[in-house]
């Protein structure tokens, strides 16, 4: 990691921590989230089976790579995204086209229950790459390098600095391991061009080229 990358990574971590801290203060959230009432949990399970899984797959293991897998995703992240859809502040194309509607009438309790449900499912690992794509060994290697070491030339910090070495996510950063590559690329493009606003990732994705985005995406998809 060069100095520029180090500064960016530190700034990113600091910014996220600051945002989380302020959010925590605002919501008076403790480290351990409140348990989900049984009725809400049952509602969430039924909602997933009768609606969410049409796109996101049974138990959040999505079939089509257009839609992200949600199984094993961090609960806080699912909550944050559903709230952003509801508030129409996350505005990438499919968020607008589908999720703004889907989340429009969800209550905070329902959002929490859905997030809890998905976070407790067996983590998803895409099995599509070997079956349907030509071998991407070189691309995966390039992606691995970007993920672990960043792109020194353009000052892109290592992804692993925040998303963890195995991309399993944390209390502040979403899980990425095993996610569909095409979904990840689509999000990186949206973060790059600003249709999805996320102040830290907008800055990190800005210097990324599309081939770099694709490389890091197929690397993440290949993680098992």
């Amino acid at each position: 990691m060069n100095t520029k990358q180090l500064i960016l990574a530190t700034l990113a971590t600091a910014a996220i921590s600051l945002m989380s801290a302020s959010a925590a203060v605002a919501q008076d959230a403790s480290a351990a989230p409140a348990p989900i009432p049984a009725a809400d949990a049952a509602w969430a399970e039924k909602k997933v089976v009768t609606t969410c899984q049409w796109c996101h797959g049974a138990q959040g293991h999505s079939i089509s790579p257009i839609y992200p897998a949600l199984a094993g995703q961090k609960a806080w992240y699912v909550i944050e995204q559903l709230q952003a859809f509801r508030a129409r502040t996350r505005a990438d194309p499919w968020a607008r086209g589908i999720m703004w509607g889907m989340a429009a009438q969800l209550t905070d309790a329902q959002i929490a229950a859905l997030a809890d449900y998905f976070s407790k499912q067996t983590p998803f690992y895409s099995t599509l790459a070997p079956a349907f794509d030509v071998p991407k060994t070189a691309e995966i290697q390039e992606g691995k390098s970007i993920y672990n070491d960043g792109v020194a030339a353009t000052g892109v910090p290592p992804c692993s600095a925040c998303h963890q070495a195995a991309a399993e996510g944390s209390d502040q950063f979403p899980r990425l391991a095993g996610q569909h590559a095409s979904y990840l690329t689509k999000q990186l493009i949206a973060l790059h061009n600003g249709t999805r606003e996320q102040i830290v990732m907008n800055g990190i994705a800005a210097p990324l080229t599309v081939p770099q985005m694709e490389a890091v995406s197929v690397y993440l998809e290949s993680l098992h």
Binding site: E45, K46, V49, T50, T51, Q53, W54, C55, A58, Q59, I63, S64, P65, I66, R96, G97, I98, W100, G101, M102, A103, A104, Q105, L128, A131, F132, S182, K186
Partner: protein, 502 residues
């Protein structure tokens, strides 16, 4: 929405009710299309969630339909009992939508004038509007949903009930966490309940030109009794994959002409003045299996019906019936990518006819057993849901029957070139018609067509389509099919239309 209408001019028409056939043609030919901004209003999701492009459904769209149009992301007007039981869950904003279509149609060769021998009708025409549809639907109450369409068509200059589907649906979560949807659809057109675009109600070709020359025959499942029948179809959907539907249809008209029944002076009950009346309960069934992997959805299925019809049209609605058994196999292979969608689909229908009524010498002496087959396959491609291409083929084959498919018109005018015999110059009810254009010189219904479409959609709810239909065979022959020097390709049709959905 309308099937491209290979209008079935059947036994009852063969018996001489050409006027009825022409009227029917006007009505049925102008069936509309239906993608529904009203569902977008209810779900908050853009068209692209449910459709690759209207009317073809995605997996999400299929689930939405089979779950009874229930997904509701708007505010409801609600009421509960003291015990907390919901008694009203009505969408606060009525789920309405409007379709408007305008078109331009041109035949390769003009059709003869219907009144003046030797003269021709206009080769092209404009319909403005072609159709205007008012649609209402979506969630009516928890578990109850609807899709209802009323359409004004320029050709008939009337409002008509279009595809209409009232549904109940519910989902059981099985112990293994798989969903089992069960429901009932009460509808007015066999296959309206179906979620795939291979079955007749929402199948290719999607929209007929406003003006077209109908071929002689198509299996009855291909809209033969559309909007004239009604019935309950029960279904289950297991794990978003296995779909089974079965039910029956009954006659659902109240009289063929105003004021309906001459005795009551009011609509219905229908009697022998109506033609082609369904007898009793008539079975319809459907079985399909969908497999989804990556961006692909593959479906294989089968469907069919067994319909019994009284010929009517002067014959009492009792005794022998004409029996039609349709068995179809269909497939749909759908690819939905981020920027492109492509769908290959096809269906093959085989119809066996036991014409117990129409084969009687006193009725018309059609062959006691006839058959028809109907095959269609098409490939659709959309780029960015903005530029669309569709190419497909429709092949109708069938047995030769001089009574069902008369080689000469049953009414003639002098000098028209047809073989009029005793009918020469006979004034028919409603006048004369295009001699030969809809007839088959060899009494065979074989019609083969290729259809190509290019569409441009500047917005998801605004579409311009240019469609060209080329016939290699029409009513039994490639050349001189009507015995009056008209070739199949003379019926080639250019159809340009504009579709607004709001």
């Amino acid at each position: 929405m309308a099937k491209f209408n290979w209008l079935r001019i059947n036994a009852w028409c063969g018996r001489g009710s050409v006027l009825a056939a022409v009227l029917l043609l006007g009505v049925v030919a102008s069936r509309p299309a239906g993608a529904l901004p009203l569902f977008a209003r209810q779900t908050g999701a853009a068209c692209a969630a449910c459709h690759t492009f209207y009317p073809e459904l995605t997996h999400f769209g299929r689930m939405f339909k089979l779950n009874g149009y229930q997904l509701d992301n708007g505010r409801d007007i609600e009421m509960i009992t003291d015990e907390g039981k919901s008694v009203l869950g009505l969408p606060a904003v009525p789920n309405l939508a409007l379709f408007i279509m305008a078109d331009y149609v041109s035949f390769k060769k003009a059709v003869p004038d219907s009144q003046t021998p030797g003269a021709n009708s206009l080769r092209d025409n404009i319909d403005f509007p072609y159709q205007v549809s008012l649609l209402y639907g979506g969630k009516i109450a928890p578990h109850f949903g609807a899709f209802a369409q009323v359409t004004y068509s320029n050709g008939a200059d009337t409002f008509n009930i279009d595809n209409t589907d009232f549904r109940f649906a519910n989902t059981i979560v099985l112990p293994n966490k798989q969903p089992l949807v069960y429901g009932v659809s009460i509808n007015n057109n066999p296959s309206v309940e179906d979620p795939y675009n291979t079955t007749p109600a929402f199948g290719f070709p999607y929209l007929p030109p406003a003006t077209f020359i109908p071929s002689l025959a198509a299996p009855i499942v291909e809209a033969g009794q559309a909007y004239e029948a009604a019935g309950p179809i029960a279904y289950i959907l297991w794990n978003e994959q296995l779909y089974l539907a079965a039910g029956f249809y009954r006659e659902a008209r109240t009289g063929s002409s105003s004021p309906g029944n001459p005795l009551t002076g009011n609509f219905g009950p229908i009697d022998s003045t109506t033609g082609a009346v369904l007898a009793g309960n008539n079975a319809y069934w459907r079985l399909s299996y969908e497999y989804d992997i990556d961006r692909y959805a593959l479906m294989v299925g089968t469907y069919g019906l067994k319909f019994k019809l009284y010929p009517g049209n002067g014959l009492p609605l009792s005794g022998a019936t004409d029996n039609y058994t349709d068995v179809a196999e269909d497939f749909q292979f759908q690819f939905i990518g981020e920027h492109n969608t492509a769908t290959l689909k096809g269906t093959y229908v085989k119809e066996n006819q036991s014409l117990n009524a129409s084969s009687a010498p006193s009725v018309g002496a059609a062959s006691p057993h006839d058959w028809l087959s109907y095959a269609t396959v098409d490939l659709t491609y959309w780029w960015e849901r903005r530029l669309g291409f569709d190419v497909g083929f429709v092949n109708i084959h069938g047995s030769t029957d001089p009574v069902l498919y008369p080689s000469a018109p049953t009414q003639c005018i002098a000098g028209s070139g047809g073989t009029c015999g005793a009918n020469l110059g006979t004034p028919g009810v409603g006048g004369v018609y295009n001699v030969g254009v809809t007839n088959s010189a060899n009494s065979n219904p074989t019609t083969d067509a290729a259809i190509g479409e290019i569409s441009y959609a500047p917005w998801l709810n605004v579409k311009f389509t240019l469609q060209y239909t080329h016939y290699t065979k029409f009513n039994g022959a490639t050349t001189n099919y009507d015995g009056n020097h008209r070739n199949a390709s003379d019926n080639d049709t250019t159809f340009l239309y504009l579709w607004y959905a709001m």
